[in-house]
Amino acid sequence: MRYGILLMGAPYSDQASHSALRFARALLARGHALEAVFFYHDGVYNAARLAAPPQDEPHLVDAWAALHAEHGVSLEVCIAAALRRGLLDEREAARHGKAGHSVEAPFELTGVGQLIDLGRRCDRLVTFGP
């Protein structure tokens, strides 16, 4: 089956990111496809490239990137939710005159339309809220 995940909890604040990652690994292990993870609401903080958790804690940002590298899972971040919260890729940083950027590949800033499309083309869309 084709799965999508909608993640709306912030990393290190809520367990939602851990739950979503665990679910993602489990569905892939059962032979399903994970088309994309869509990050919305405070879930956009999962894309913060400057996250620097202590070394004895799971690095959630890297864990998402690994999921992309190993399985080609798209990591789609709602641009409206991200910009408001200070999460900008290089292009948006330049557009808004900011000195640095806080989002990088494999995370992509994209519109809520991608979430609607994900819901339409997947067999299952599973939400993890805060």
């Binding site: 919305y40 609401h41 939710a81 519109g111 339309g113 979430l115 609607i116 499309d117 819901g119 339409r120």
Partner: protein, 126 residues
């Protein structure tokens, strides 16, 4: 507005469970609904629990210019989102009069919520 049962079905049901101003849940849920409608999907909204507060008349912008969601709600018709449902029990629990709400949503008893969900391909909860 049609009251026949067939009009309850659609592609996306967005369940709104949060009040305006206190968090961004309501705004972000409505954004998802508007975008889906702009994509041509048939979208229904269910105001459940505290979400019924979104429909209270007389809302204003908050301090510091916080926008609230009432202006967005007034735009729903432009996006052809006219399947608006409200949980009757949630209104009663708050002493709110259905006749005084914005947008004239249709009231739903608890069993109707299950039917409404069944009638949609995808349900998003906010």
């Amino acid at each position: 507005m049609s009251h026949d049962h067939d009009s309850a079905d659609g592609e996306l049901l967005v369940i709104l469970r949060h009040a305006p101003h206190g968090s961004s849940w309501l705004r972000e849920g409505l954004d998802a609904a508007l975008v889906a409608a702009a994509f041509g999907q048939r979208v229904s909204l269910l105001f459940m629990g505290e979400g019924v507060m979104a429909l209270v008349d007389g809302q204003e912008a908050g301090p510091l210019g916080q926008k609230g969601t009432a202006p967005t709600l007034r735009m729903l018709e432009m996006y052809d989102i006219d399947a608006l449902w409200v949980e009757r029990e949630a209104l009663a629990a708050r002493g709110l009069d259905e006749a005084a709400l914005m947008l004239a949503p249709r009231c739903l008893e608890a069993p109707g919520i299950v039917e409404l969900i069944d009638a949609h391909d995808l349900v998003l909860t906010f």
